[in-house]
Amino acid sequence: MGEAAHEIALTVNGVLRRTRVPGRRLLSDCLRHDLGLTGTHVGCEHGVCGCCTVLLDGEPVRSCLMFAVTADGHEITTVEGLADGARMSPVQRAFAECHGLQCGFCTPGFLCTVTALLRENPAPSGEEVLEGLSGNLCRCTGYQNIVRAVHRAAEIMAEERAEEA
């Protein structure tokens, strides 16, 4: 007996995407396999590593802990949608500048988490940064440069706001 397929429509990085998925398709797999957006990484599939974090209606969530059918009708932002055209986002630039990544496996999750964190709290304290990052694992960097990158991103964003004003 074949599994029933569900028609779903997601707005991914500003583009309306339609696809057919079985009920058990994880959002992470839908993004990667059905929509070809392999920037979202999958490490553990039980919510622990944070690699698969994407923004659902602007809020960071684990895409491995959500079925694609549940996301029907919602807006998703993946790491592919963070840059402004060819220009990297402030968070991405800060990670590059501060060496906040080595192998890059964890990076998409960190970038989405930090993007949302700084949107809600543009000048987080050291403690708030640690709390905000506590759900993302990195096996390479030792975290120091990631923490530095978050503070640097906050700085870049403040500078850009000042320039605009």
Binding site: E3, G23, M66, F67, G132, G135
Partner: protein, 307 residues
């Protein structure tokens, strides 16, 4: 791994959800935030044939605060309850506990009611509901019942929820006058389930002496263990109560187990230390609350800040 196949139901109304649950009986399971159920399915430890996805039932997302307490709807996410200023004013223990539940990103999806139904003995919210004497409202086709916390948690990952039932909300009673709360826990890493944890509630009399003191312990038995330590700590002034005696009473009552994270003996020791700490902090908060009341403490207005 990938989850096993199931039939996905996405009801648009509560009545429709209850119909599907009635029809699927013990083969049907509610999907709320998915932050406990989906990991279990990905690990193939759970394989429900039917999932009733309640994420479209927006009417269940309200957090209603009133003088009696806080009613949390089934679709209210941990993060939403944590942010609610009204809920924190009426019952501060909610926010104190929610800050210790998983990581912020998990709290964006996970629901408070889902955490109660999941009934993990290591989880914070079941201990909070048990300590405060709250209740869970269960609906099924043709009826609703309120189950008190003391009867709701029946074993590890087991609750009083029957086949065909949906938990529509949970009620957390308000902080009584001249009372304070605290939650203390120790976990390996921030956001992990706690090795040991204690929620405390201390109520003072008019002379600011301890009138009642209770502690609820997580990871200390098959269900949250609530210990009344009023007699152990004596009717002393809040600042001079014997919290070490209370800690001993807690250590005697709990039944922690060995596992790969910690031995039972270590858990017992830790729970006592955390109990003394949480009770002392709750007493301090109670004195502050009593001072505040003298100046006219307003226990939250009736407002549905569910957004």
């Amino acid at each position: 791994m990938k989850p096993p196949p199931f039939d996905h139901h996405a009801p648009r109304t509560l009545a429709e959800a209850l119909d599907v649950l009635a029809a699927t009986g013990e083969h049907g399971k509610v999907l709320a935030g998915g932050q406990s159920l989906i990991p279990l399915m990905n690990m193939r430890l759970a394989a429900p044939a039917h999932l009733v996805d309640i994420n479209r039932l927006g009417g269940l997302a309200a957090v209603e605060t009133g003088p009696d307490g806080v009613r949390v709807g089934a679709l209210a996410r941990h993060a939403q309850v944590e942010r609610s200023a009204g809920a924190a004013a009426v019952q501060p223990l909610l926010r104190q506990a929610l800050r210790l539940v998983a990581h912020p990103v998990i709290r964006n999806r996970g629901t408070a009611v889902g955490s109660l139904v999941h009934a993990d003995p290591a989880a914070e919210l079941p201990a909070v509901l048990a300590l405060l004497g709250g209740s869970v409202r269960l609906a099924r086709r043709g009826g609703t019942r309120d189950v008190p916390a003391g009867e709701f948690f029946t074993g590890p990952l087991e609750s009083a929820l029957g086949p065909g039932e949906l938990a529509v909300s949970a009620f957390f009673p308000a902080l009584p006058p001249r009372a304070g709360t605290a939650f203390e826990e120790v976990s390996r890493r921030h956001g992990d389930y706690a090795l040991a944890g204690v929620a405390a509630l201390v109520r003072l009399d008019g002379g600011l002496r301890v009138a009642a003191a209770t502690a609820a312990c997580v990871s200390a038995g098959p269900v949250p263990v609530v210990v009344d330590v009023t007699a152990a700590c004596g009717a002393a002034p809040a600042g001079a109560a014997d919290w070490e005696a209370a800690a001993r009473a807690v250590r005697e009552r709990i039944e922690p187990e060995d596992d790969i994270h910690a031995s039972a003996d270590y858990r017992r020791h830790l729970t006592g230390v955390l109990a003394a700490r949480a009770l002392r902090e709750a007493a301090r908060a109670a004195v502050e609350h009593a001072d505040g009341s003298a100046g006219g403490y307003a226990a939250g207005s009736r407002a549905g800040d569910g957004g």
